[in-house]
């Protein structure tokens, strides 16, 4: 019965269906008996049968039986048993319910209870005992545990070693995306003369109606369009880096002051670290520009070049305003500090013995410093908003290499200033522009190869900071917090090219090498076209993608039907933020003091240029003054939004960090219940406005019939059902994620995991676990 010899891999491979028909895949759950679902290019490396997946830490009654496989993409647990206690599962089309992508694995621990041994498995390591259990610590805070009591000891060991080996590849080209995309090129070559469909492009927004493409900023025209969109005059697209001739960590096209000639730029570039010349990010409608720049390493030339660049930026400003320089290395925590904070946060949220943190929760949270760092980034970005918006100064972000902190600050500044970046397409284009193209080192910072000392979760920090803004201005963003969480998860799936490389050049170089080695004809293409994360249809069905939509969001194109005689919709007259909670003194007489309700912030009076020498002195109080005035008025959600950054206002992003923690889950509660009700209402509004547009006296049901068009996940079901559709049973505070099957801290019945693991604090503490035979 227990064959020691692992059966031959029997895999079934199929092509991903094109995005249009992606609903089909959902309705096809007929996975052949305990056979893995494999992607093109995916192969099973090792597998073991009769594995028990543990669901609760303290009881085996819910455990599932099945087969554990390790492929070159994921570890997959295949079972016929339904997941107990779980009411809802947000299905990722690329991954099964129990699957973990290899790039999501943080640490692999093998245990033998009889010999009381445990070992953290590195790549190419030997295992001198037969594991009775395997614990996988994931980068997304999950912990998965398998027992091998009934499995063949040899195959169990082999699978463990295979997982250790494949999750810690020695070379970038061993990441699954290469295999996958190579397979697709081969397949498409056999068919028509084709570039694989669904690849490369920006993908469509998030489903539903919007099918706007995300600009990838790989081409001249994307940059040109961005210049035009922001109305930047005095800036031009420059192609001197075509073919990465100047810098390998810059995009091929960059935007520079018009007054700088290509020839000058070429000369200057030698003086910058990484030859990273100043990069234009964005321009305010008042002409102030946001620019990022690496340090000038050439000390002798430093002053001169700096002067030239600054002059050029000033020249590009319609009012010839000064340049404000912000040295990010001096003002913000460095990447190591951010990483250290994140490690502590992970300890706290997931693995720390529950009883210990219980009493000191707030101070433990403080000790991680994570929130303080989020706050620091928000605060600094807001100060730069003040410079651009109110002082009409162009801002230059300076950082040693200009490709870490700058990414985060530049993005946050733009999210605050430009409502376009608060739409899904806009936000994605921002990530392309300021992260992917600007050379944020995803490969190292996400540590896909598990050997980098340079790991740092800056991208997560950016998503967290964006979440803080979303939390403070729920109606200002087109996307939901689910979208942000799913986006974070997507950095851990090694299928997409978006978050795989240290720079666009690396993608081209590595994939060209790979193509040559695999005999793939590239033709005119610069490197292989990897699937883009923005092609969300690869991961989620159209229906599931609607969860990305924020029901609060009121886009600029609000259906304000103004058919002459019909009175137009006026936005709420009351400013609730001041009246809801009590008795503002301004309203004592029932007279609302005549404050501007929706002030146009772009029309602030031009202030005289500050004298740079005394700037720092008066600057602080000026900034404060600006913030105070801004906060004293209701925010225009289609204008600038500024974060509140006092300690009271920065919160822990619970959906992201607690979604796998069973005891943090509130059944039928949490903000998702409000989200649900609002979705229904927003959907109803949509239906009604659709009706108005049709202007026909057709039956109401017809409009509800067009459910396919809804941009909401939860739909108003029609006149007769709206009131009876209660809160769905499956809603919980961690929706759409489910902590079931994740073993962290205290599980369903209350025994702390730490006790279970005999008190060992395993996470990331390899030293203490050197007790191998």
């Amino acid at each position: 019965m227990f064959s020691l010899k692992p059966p031959k891999p029997t895999f079934r491979s199929y092509l991903l269906p094109p995005p249009q028909t992606d609903d089909k895949i959902n309705s096809e759950p007929k996975i052949k008996k305990l056979e893995p679902v494999l992607l093109p290019g995916e192969i099973v490396v090792n597998e073991v049968n009769f594995v028990r997946k543990c669901i609760a830490t303290d009881t085996s009654q819910y455990d599932l039986w099945g087969k554990l496989i390790c492929s070159n993409f994921k570890i997959s647990f295949i079972t016929d048993d339904p997941m107990p206690l779980q009411k809802f599962h947000y299905r990722n089309l690329l991954l099964g319910e129990h699957d973990v992508p290899l790039t999501c694995i943080e640490q692999i621990v093998t245990v033998n209870d009889h010999k009381r041994k445990q070992k953290v498995l590195g790549p190419n390591q030997k295992l001198k005992f037969n594991p009775t259990e395997l614990i996988i610590y994931c980068k997304d805070f999950r912990i998965v545990r398998f027992r091998f009591d009934e499995s063949g000891p040899e195959s169990a060991k082999k699978v463990c070693l295979a997982i250790a080996h494949y999750s810690q590849p020695t070379d970038l080209q061993l990441l699954f995306a290469f295999e996958y995309v190579g397979k697709k090129y081969h397949n498409s070559a056999n068919k028509i003369n084709g570039i694989p469909s669904g690849d490369g492009g920006g993908g469509n927004g998030a489903g539903g109606g919007s099918s706007q493409k995300t600009p990838l900023f790989e081409t001249y025209s994307d940059w040109d369009r961005e210049i035009k969109r922001t109305g930047a005059s005095g800036w031009r697209v420059c192609s001197i880096n075509e073919g990465y001739m100047i810098s390998t960590c810059l995009p091929e096209y960059i935007v520079v002051p018009s007054s700088l000639a290509d020839q000058d730029l070429k000369i200057f570039s030698h003086s910058f670290i990484g030859r990273r010349m100043p990069l234009w990010c964005w321009s305010h409608s008042n002409g102030s520009a946001l620019v990022r720049m690496a340090l000038i390493k050439d000390v002798l030339q430093q002053r001169k070049i700096d002067q030239r660049i600054c002059n050029a930026i000033t020249k590009s400003h319609p009012q010839r305003s000064d340049v404000y320089k912000s040295d990010l290395d001096k003002t913000l925590p460095n990447i190591q500090e951010v990483q250290a904070a994140f490690v502590k946060l992970k300890q706290l949220c997931v693995n720390e013995p529950f009883e210990e943190t219980e009493e000191k929760w707030l101070s433990s949270l403080e000790n991680t410093r994570w929130l303080e760092y989020v706050r620091a980034f928000l605060k600094h970005s807001a100060e730069l908003v003040y410079m651009l918006e109110s002082k009409h100064l162009s801002v230059v972000l300076q950082e040693e290499e200009g490709r870490d902190l700058s990414c985060c600050v530049a993005s946050l500044v733009q999210v605050m200033l430009d409502p376009y970046f608060r739409t899904i397409t806009g936000f994605q284009s921002l990530i392309q522009k300021e992260w992917v193209m600007a050379g944020y080192q995803f490969l190292d910072r996400c540590n896909h190869l598990k050997r980098s000392e340079k790991e740092s979760p800056l991208f997560l920090l950016f998503l967290d900071a964006t979440w803080q803004l979303l939390e403070q201005y729920p109606a200002a963003f087109e996307f939901s917090e689910t979208y942000l969480a799913v986006l974070y998860d997507s950095t851990r799936i090694s299928l997409f090219g978006t978050f795989l490389f240290n720079s666009p050049h690396q993608r081209v170089k590595q994939s060209t090498e790979f193509a040559i080695s695999k005999n793939i004809q590239l033709g005119d293409e610069k490197g292989l076209k990897f699937p883009s994360v923005w092609d969300w249809s690869l991961q989620f069905t159209a229906k599931d993608r609607t969860l990305f939509h924020n029901p609060f969001y009121i886009g600029k194109s609000t259906p304000c039907i103004q058919n002459g005689s019909v009175k137009s919709f006026k936005r709420t007259k009351k400013s609730y933020s001041s009246t809801l909670r009590g008795m503002p003194s301004a309203l004592k007489n029932g007279i609302i003091s005549d404050q501007e309700l929706l002030p146009r912030r772009n029309s602030l009076i031009l202030k005289p240029k500050p004298d740079p020498a005394q700037q720092t002195d008066s600057q602080n109080s000026d900034t404060e003054q600006y913030f105070r005035e801004w906060f004293s008025k209701p925010a225009n959600l289609h204008g600038v939004i500024l974060p509140r950054v006092s300690g009271t206002h920065i919160k822990l992003w619970k959906l992201c960090y607690f979604r796998w923690v069973p005891e943090a889950q509130i059944s039928l509660g949490g903000s998702i219940t409000a989200f649900h009700k609002l979705s229904l209402l927003a959907d109803e509004v949509d239906v009604l406005s659709r009706m108005l547009r049709q202007q026909r006296s057709g039956p109401l049901e017809a409009c509800y019939g067009e459910l396919g068009q809804s941009r909401m996940y939860f739909n108003a079901s029609g006149p007769h059902h709206t009131d009876t559709s209660g809160t769905p049973e499956f809603l919980s505070s961690s929706f759409p994620f489910s902590p079931v099957g994740n073993l962290c801290r205290r599980s369903i019945l209350g025994t702390p995991l730490s006790k279970f693991l005999s008190g060992a604090k395993i996470w990331l503490s390899t030293e203490t676990l050197a007790n191998e035979d």
């Binding site: 009493e359 303080e372 007259k573 009351k574 001041s578 009590g582 003091s593 300690g647 009271t648 406005s689």
Partner: protein, 660 residues
């Protein structure tokens, strides 16, 4: 009034707390009931009103070149800093306020002079809005197991209990009196909540006078009777909400807790909620954190943790959850007590009831809950909230903590409550304002002696009348989530409890809480409503056009169609706004302006109401002031008094509407 040394001081500056350099220049008035600051700035004439009863502390600070600063801290967490040019004036104001903020007689309190212009009948109607005997009926009482006892008629047995009490049928007067003699302040076990579904109940009492070994047969019989009144369980939980150490210390004073050996079939349980002194200090520490101007993450988190406030909130919640689970899941009755059974016991019983019974999560049900577990059972409002000058050691934020527990639950279950955050904040405000008679005195007995109901008005009627402002738009009565018990994790963790800036920081300008879900929802709701109106208008128009074209005179035949169309969601939209939907309850408000009753168009009525409620709600709590000596306003706590522009607005809207 004799205590006002100087009724008016000019050139006073009101300091903006966020930016101390900025200060508004104005005039300070002292009236019999309020401190009023009126800004000089001619275009705004902004006014700041502070009730004397809201004043918690007054601090005279060192005189500076600009004048003499006076810091007033309020019980609703407002902080006012004034700079008075003359030291002498400042002293006068200070001395006057010290006296005005500490009245010695009930008659000095605001509710005795407050006049919302309601006639006698309306006043009486207001007081019967919340009727506890109705509430016991709703629970299904009296029944086979429980009966109304008249043992406390004329407060003969216990003067801090109400006269109407429910006790087990098998508990004779002899047992009750015997038991009462064995309990602190004679607060014997009585019913607080009866859970119809399984006959389990929540009972409350004070601690037994057990000392180290004393026993009382009647008290033991009393608990036996409670157990027997619940055929579904063979034991009773006795929950002592104090920390064990405190309870043991009480034994030395001849008090203490039940000995499991003496009482048959009880399960005894301690749940450590700290006493009023610890809570008072904890709030003080938390408010210090709130006063920080722009706290860093560590200032805030460390400060909050060191205050212990959220830990105390959690302890109360834990106790409530324990009891709710015992009742609903184990089907066991629970007897709850602390020391005197009027602070922690009130908190815990009401939290448990709120978790168990969706009725208490409605507007009216919540009023009933406070009326029952707090007002009628003798929570010492006067002492705890310092309405009259008294022992400062008696002051403690007991009901504030309960209100916060409710808010924490609302945050976790945003759709489960019919009321919103504002409702809680306004109740908190009025517990201290003494503008309504509900929270006066320490017991029902005292209130009856003072003839509160004849001399003051009821807050519940006031809140009920303005209920449109207090409704949670996410709530729908028929949803599964709003029915039945709220299911919290067995032991909720600390990280589930949050700092309530909407309460404690609500007066901080520039720190104003973000726009909440509710705010946005209200906007969306209005949008839906307007779209519907437009739809209806268009349909009517279409109809007219068709009629004209067909030149047909049978107009009425199609009349019903559009109204059917709009009906599908006005039903839930209009709940928040249309008084019509409450016609069932209108009985209690015959005084509503008759014009509203016979509006011919429901749409216009809705519009009207929406707008006119604006100024009223915003000025809500201070609007009620009945001060006569300021000519600039006419006090009206009662009727809707639509401001001029809202009236105009409505007309113009209507006009546009009709042209459609």
């Amino acid at each position: 009034m004799e205590h006002i040394r100087t009724p008016k001081v000019e050139n006073v500056r009101l300091v903006d707390r966020v930016s101390p350099k900025k200060a508004a220049l104005g005039t300070l008035y002292l009236t019999a009931t309020h401190v009023i600051f009126v800004e000089n700035s001619p275009d705004t004439r902004k006014e700041t009103w502070i009730l004397h009863s809201q004043i918690s502390t007054i601090e005279k600070q060192a005189t500076t070149a600009t004048g003499c600063p006076l810091l007033i801290r309020c019980k609703n967490f407002q902080i006012i800093q004034l700079i008075i040019p003359q030291e002498r004036d400042c002293h006068d104001v200070y001395i006057s306020l010290i006296r005005l903020a500490r009245p010695v007689k009930y008659e000095e309190l605001y509710c005795f002079s407050f006049n919302p212009m309601l006639d006698k009948e309306e006043r009486e109607q207001g007081w019967v809005l919340i009727d506890l005997s109705e509430e016991y009926k709703r629970m299904g009482l009296p029944n086979h197991y429980w009966q109304l006892s008249d043992v406390n008629r004329d407060y003969r047995v216990c003067d801090s209990y109400p006269t109407e009490l429910y006790v087990p049928k098998s508990a004779t007067a002899h047992i009750i009196v015997g038991s009462s003699k064995f309990r602190s302040r004679r607060r014997f076990p009585v019913l607080s909540y009866y859970y119809k579904d399984n006959h389990a109940s929540i009972c409350r009492s004070s601690q037994p006078l057990s000392g180290f070994s004393a026993r009382c047969l009647e008290d033991e019989q009393m608990l036996q009777a409670i157990r027997k009144a619940n055929p579904g369980s063979d034991f009773v939980y006795v929950v002592d909400t104090r920390p064990k150490l405190n309870a043991m210390a009480n034994r030395a004073a001849g008090k203490g807790y039940e000995n499991e050996d003496n009482y048959s079939n009880i399960k005894f349980q301690f749940i450590g909620i700290e006493n009023i002194h610890v809570m008072r200090n904890s709030l003080q520490k938390m408010l210090e954190v709130c006063e920080l101007k722009s706290p860093s993450m560590s200032d805030f988190l460390w400060g909050l943790e060191n205050s212990g406030w959220l830990r105390h909130i959690k302890a109360i919640m834990d106790a409530g959850i324990f009891i709710a689970k015992a009742v609903s899941e184990e089907g066991a009755s629970v007897l709850v007590h602390c020391s005197d059974g009027w602070d922690r016991t009130a908190q815990v019983c009401s939290v448990a009831s709120l978790l168990l019974d969706p009725h208490y999560r409605t507007l009216k049900g919540f009023m009933v809950l406070i009326e029952k577990d707090w007002i009628s059972f003798g929570h010492k409002f006067n002492h705890r909230y310092g309405n009259l000058d008294g022992d400062p050691k008696e002051i403690s934020p007991v009901i504030d903590q309960f209100i916060e527990c409710v808010w924490q639950l609302m945050e976790q279950f945003p759709c489960a409550f019919e009321f919103n955050e504002r409702f809680l904040i306004h109740i908190q405000h009025h517990i201290y304002s003494c503008q309504f008679g509900n929270f006066l005195c320490n017991s029902q007995k005292e209130r009856r002696e003072l003839k509160i109901q004849e001399r003051t008005y009821s807050l519940w009627a006031h809140l009920w009348k303005n209920r449109a402002d207090y409704l949670n738009p996410l709530f729908r009565a028929d949803h599964s989530q709003t029915q039945g018990t709220l299911h919290l994790p067995t032991t909720p963790c600390n990280f589930m409890y949050k700092f309530w800036s909407g309460m404690y920081n609500r007066f901080e300008k520039g720190m104003q809480p973000r726009q909440s879900v509710t705010d946005y929802l209200m906007a969306v709701k209005e949008e839906t409503q307007q779209l519907e109106e437009e739809l209806e208008a268009l349909e009517e128009r279409l109809e007219k056009i068709q009629n004209v074209q067909l030149n047909c005179t049978k107009v009425k035949s199609k009349q019903s169609e559009p109204s059917k169309h709009s009906g599908f969601s006005t039903s839930d939209n209009s709940i928040a706004n249309t008084p019509q939907d409450y016609s069932g309850n209108m009985k209690s408000f015959p005084s509503r302006s008759p014009s509203q009753g016979d509006e011919d168009s429901a749409l216009i009525l809705t519009q009207d109401n929406l707008k006119s409620s604006d100024p009223d709600l915003s000025a809500n709590s201070d609007q009620e002031s009945g001060v006569e000596d300021l000519s600039c306003r006419s006090p009206s706590g009662g009727e809707h008094a639509p401001s001029e522009d809202s009236g105009k607005d409505r007309d113009s809207d209507e006009a546009v509407f009709l042209t459609a």
